[in-house]
Symmetry: C2
Subunit: 249 residues, 2 copies
DNA sequence: GGGAGTAATTGACCTAACTCAAAGTGTTTT
DNA sequence: AAAACACTTTGAGTTAGGTCAATTACTCCC
């Protein structure tokens, strides 16, 4: 296995470090307020929700929760970056998503029955997340049904985006999957070129795209040799996305 | 391309045949009522919604909608079976989902912005669907916010299930993807054996699992030779799912 | 029941991608 | 500054699975 050590062997159980610093920095609060799940909330409801939540600091590679653990909370990323992954019976570690500041994750658990995490979540670097009790959000929604519209929009969008992820994975060859992945990272899709930053280390992007790190490296080297991307560490510059699409047939 | 003709070449535009038969057969109505998106509705609201909808009959292989078409409706399957797929630039047809009676599809479009279908939908055999105006459902939800809870549960469940589909597709080898797919078809998962019916023709299951029909056929022949499944047309009998999981490493 | 059309299987061959191994690069620690 | 570590790249050999072609099995019509 090329992916160094797995989280499974690194930790015996998640160790969460709540920190006392209240969640009131103006930028953090602003980020929370701009998330669809919270944007409609009035000040009082939002404060009440935050009051019931805990702020958690996670170290590099620290596990937040495990697959199949009962899910009593969902999370909002204040800073850092996390990834979601699954471990199969042979211990292979498959990355499913990466999560940036301003995103929520495990929020589908609010309505899962039984509520169990569907994957592992770990910090890719030192990060801070807001740990929100599922019940608190549920109660708030029940007493203010008008908030449900925004939540519905968010959930529907999430379902569409997962559908799109699935679509990439039905592409049979590794090069075309990588190309589609890169184009999705571009702010305007295939419309115009630009620079993208890989949201994960290359070996984890490879895992996300169901290929080996070596394959990823070779494909990228090949695209580079053909002048289709310029590579600078985890920053890629794509000048002509249309040409990339053309060669992916 | 092994998948015979594509829908793209078969049709120039979807031809929808609304039929006059009102949607009031007791069993059809019962099925609708048991779907989470409608189960909470009171009789009057449900009747109003049905009144604004149209009943559509689809012939074998008939296209219902195309990818990127503006989405003004979502659908409930009354009878038959449909599949969702995408077509890429080289015309390859990739199956993403199959839909059975009692299911809804394109329902995420209720909250998409802009509302455009993310894929093609076609009937796999002669089918009937209820075509529900997105706006009608939206209006109903807005005037009855209490219905939103059930909708939220449904959307969250859908997102989880797409996540799970994605997870299967990050499994790198074709045999293990097929095994996981089969186990998911079993009513009780890996808990106990049983008979499953493939929801799609074999060549489309292959496409759903990002492999060639030939590969699908060979893997199934191999599982059969090892006594892991018994195959009878599209019905498979799996006596010991645990053994299947064991060999998939 | 025969013929057309479609789906599934099987064989032979080939290539994309995996595996293993080693070396290179950048980062953190002491 | 060196050592330790993590990640990435490159090379060589192997294999899973794709491709092409031919055969068989179904299904639907007439």
């Amino acid at each position: 296995m090329a992916l160094t050590q797995t989280a499974e062997t690194r930790y015996t159980k998640p160790v969460l470090v709540a920190i006392n610093k209240p969640f009131d920095d103006e930028d953090g609060l602003q980020a929370l307020r701009s998330h669809p799940l919270f944007s409609e909330l009035n000040g009082k409801d939002l404060q009440h929700l935050i009051h019931q939540s805990r702020r958690i600091r996670l170290g590099h590679h620290q596990l937040l929760y495990r697959q199949d653990m009962p899910a009593h909370h969902f999370f909002f990323v204040i800073s850092g970056r996390l990834r979601l992954y699954r471990l199969d019976s042979s211990g292979i570690d498959r990355t499913l998503d990466s999560i940036a500041p301003g995103d929520c994750f495990a929020e589908v658990m609010i309505y899962a029955d039984p509520p169990r995490y569907a994957c592992y979540a770990e910090a890719l670097k030192s990060s801070e997340v807001l740990m929100i009790p599922v019940k608190a959000y549920q109660d708030m929604l029940e007493s203010n049904p008008k908030y449900a519209q925004a939540a519905l929009r968010h959930y529907a969008k999430r379902a569409v985006s997962r559908f799109h992820d699935l679509e990439i994975m039905t592409v049979q060859n590794a090069r075309d999957r990588l190309i589609r992945y890169l184009i999705d990272l571009l702010p305007n899709g295939a419309e115009e070129g630009g620079e993208v930053e890989l949201p994960l280390p290359k070996c984890l992007v490879a895992s996300r795209l169901a290929m080996q790190p070596e394959t990823f490296s070779r494909i990228l080297a090949d695209l580079k040799a053909n002048g289709l991307v310029r590579v600078n560490r985890s920053r890629l510059f794509i000048s002509d996305p249309q040409r990339l699409i053309e060669i992916s047939q």
